[in-house]
């Protein structure tokens, strides 16, 4: 029984990690008053380049760097549109998602042939943490994971510190609430938002790289499979708080893992009901833990100075 619990948790953490990374990035972006629905696209681009660079260089670390860099580039495009030119954030995000899906497909076929190849990229191997892995139940679940999972865990407090304990974080939160006040305080509104999008974009890069070079070790067209949208929901569900986001992502991950365990166990219930499980659970929990944390007041609104 304990073993099942441990394996559930291990699996849950593994499934939660990309969601967590993307959600943390989106928290930073949304805190600055920008809504980025292009998480899916940014992750996909990062997943592709991480896989490709890891494959040709043989180094997952270089792959990770490439993944983050490519996500940064797509974040920069998004920022140029939505912050620089003040284009509509939702359509830009939607356009970028389609563009990213197409682009990665084009590149995949260009590089690996029209009919593709089963790519096996070098990956982040499992890196047990000495001593800690011996802890009962959570030890094996939490501390026999790959380096990116540890990085994601580290990023929870780091993101929280960034938002609540640094000057940049203060400015980002302020700009998401009342850009006019930030402007009046003599701070560069657009540059701050640009920075937030870039920082958040790099998190998406990690999330995408995790998918391709830490989890599946390959790249498949559309492999993000809707995770970007789940991450968006997690951000709102968690009320824009990093630790809460971690909890929600874990809830979602464990719920997903649970349905695979149920299926593997051979329960004779149509599997579609298992696949529904994480989503139903999310709604129920969201309704149960009712909280009304307000969204950043200036979210999805472009800022321009009049006069």
């Amino acid at each position: 029984m304990m073993e099942i619990f441990t394996s559930l948790l291990t699996s849950g953490i593994s499934l939660a990690t990309p969601l967590l990374l993307a959600a943390l990035g989106e928290i930073i972006i949304e805190k600055s008053g920008i809504i980025n629905i292009a998480l899916e696209g940014m992750m996909l681009v990062a997943a592709f380049f991480a896989m490709y660079v890891a494959l040709i260089s043989g180094s997952p670390i270089l792959g990770l760097v490439a993944g983050v860099f490519s996500a940064l580039l797509s974040a920069a495009i998004f920022a140029l549109f939505c912050v620089g030119a003040q284009a509509d954030q939702i359509i830009t995000g939607a356009g970028l998602n389609i563009f990213a899906l197409g682009l990665t497909g084009v590149l995949l076929r260009r590089i690996f042939g029209l009919t593709g190849a089963t790519i096996t990229a070098p990956t982040f191997t499992i890196l047990p943490v000495p001593f800690l892995q011996k802890l009962p139940i959570i030890g094996p679940a939490l501390f026999t994971q790959n380096a990116l999972v540890y990085l994601a865990l580290l990023l929870i407090p780091i993101t929280w510190l960034l938002l609540t304990r640094t000057r940049l974080g203060l400015h980002l939160r302020a700009v998401g609430e009342n850009p006019a006040a930030v402007d009046a305080a003599g701070l560069p509104v657009q540059r701050l938002r640009f920075a937030a999008v870039l920082i958040g974009g790099s998190y998406c890069g990690l999330a995408g790289a995790y998918l391709s070079i830490a989890q599946a070790n390959t790249f498949i067209e559309g492999m993000t499979a809707g995770r970007g949208f789940i991450a968006l929901a997690i951000v709102i569900f968690a009320g824009w708080r990093p630790f809460a986001a971690a909890a929600v992502a874990l809830l979602f991950g464990v719920a997903s893992a649970l349905q695979f365990q149920f299926q593997a166990f051979g329960l004779k219930v149509p599997y579609q009901f298992f696949l529904m499980l994480p989503y139903i659970l999310t709604i129920v929990v969201a309704a149960f833990f009712r909280h009304r944390i307000q969204a950043p007041a200036a979210m999805a609104k472009s800022y321009f100075r009049e006069g």
Partner: protein, 353 residues
């Protein structure tokens, strides 16, 4: 009297952004396809031909426009009311499911009763999904963005279950429903094509929604709530009730779209009945400036791009992903040249001269 230069300037302002958006999208597209060894001119002519080459191609473009109109209307109505309904996809599927239930299981009913019941239930299926999200938001404080995304996934899985289980064809082989009875099918509009009467329903509903939003007191109140819910409450409007109503209407519209897709095009229910019409509907609605009539051309553009993209694959062997890149780029350029930044830039440039 206006000076000729002023008239020229006005014309330029009118025409330039559109031209530039198109030229840049095609420019980048051309660059891209020529990188893959295709002649850009050929690509564009194929795109055009694929979308409007002959009556049949044109009908196919219209056919692709129809579901987008419905999901676009659903999104436009909800966004206008300040509701971020991302659930058009799930509501679309629900409508598809319900029309199948009736079309397969209840087709022997007396026709008028059948139509009445079916239409009501299709609408209700989407409306109830919307109301559920609305209830969760108003009574439990669950953001509709979360609940509708989750409901999409749930309905999708439920539909999968349905075509494997209770709704599976009598032969029990494939995960698909039986064919809808003839009475439940929409009539063909144009012999030799697949164009069905759904296209008329789409246009009619767009007009109706326009009337509701901009001519009826009810729609006026919805728009007030969308702009300033606080003032709406202070003006004596029952905000909660209107919001639930908007959720219901929005869901119902999307559901009708799903039903029409099954009744008009496929004739049976499949798992992958929608390639994401609900999500594309968001882009359609935004491009149409959340205006019921404005989104008609927007949906048509998406339909044409989709149709044209098929021709690119068929006739030139351009992969579907390349077509996606061009689609994504078109959307991006259209929004870019719609921005305040660009308009100001243009104004400045034209004023200097």
């Amino acid at each position: 009297m206006r000076r000729p230069t002023e008239i020229l300037r006005q014309m330029a302002l009118w025409f330039l952004p559109a031209m530039l958006a198109f030229v840049s999208a095609s420019g980048f597209g051309a660059l891209l396809v020529s990188g893959f060894g295709y002649s850009p001119l050929l690509v564009f002519s194929t795109l055009w031909e694929g979308a409007f080459g002959d009556a049949y191609r044109f009908s196919e473009t219209l056919l692709k426009t129809v579901p987008l109109v419905f999901t676009g209307l659903a999104v436009a109505l909800s966004f206008r009311t300040g509701i971020w309904n991302i659930g058009a996809e799930g509501q679309f599927l629900a409508g598809a499911l319900i029309v199948t239930v009736f079309g397969v299981k209840a087709a022997n009913l007396f026709a008028p009763i059948f139509f009445l019941l079916t239409t009501i239930d299709i609408f209700l299926s989407g409306a109830l999904l919307g109301i559920l999200a609305g209830w969760l938001r108003e009574k439990h404080g669950v953001s509709e963005v979360i609940s509708t995304i989750m409901l999409n996934m749930i309905v999708l899985q439920f539909l999968g279950y349905a075509v494997h289980g209770p709704l599976q064809e009598a032969a029990r082989t494939y995960p698909q429903s039986d064919r809808l009875a003839e009475v439940a099918r929409l009539s063909q509009l144009w012999p030799g094509t697949r164009l069905h009467s759904g296209v008329i329903i789409a246009v009619l509903l767009a007009i109706v929604l326009w009337l509701v939003l901009f001519r009826l007191p009810f729609g006026f109140r919805l728009r007030v709530i969308g702009q300033n819910p606080h003032a709406a409450r202070f003006a004596g409007i029952n905000v909660s009730r209107h919001i639930i109503a908007a959720f219901a209407l929005s869901g119902g519209l999307a559901a009708i779209g799903g039903a029409i897709e099954v009744a008009g095009v496929t004739g049976r229910l499949y798992e992958n009945i929608s390639p994401g019409y609900g999500f594309t509907g968001i882009a359609v609605a935004m491009l149409g400036r959340l205006h019921p009539l404005g989104l008609l051309p927007a949906a048509f553009l998406f339909g044409a791009l989709e149709s044209g993209a098929r021709a690119l694959q068929r006739n030139l062997g351009l992969s579907s992903v390349l077509a996606e890149v061009i689609q994504g780029m078109t959307i991006l350029f259209v929004v870019l040249f719609e921005t305040r930044w660009f308009r100001e830039l243009l104004n400045k440039r034209l004023n200097v001269k």
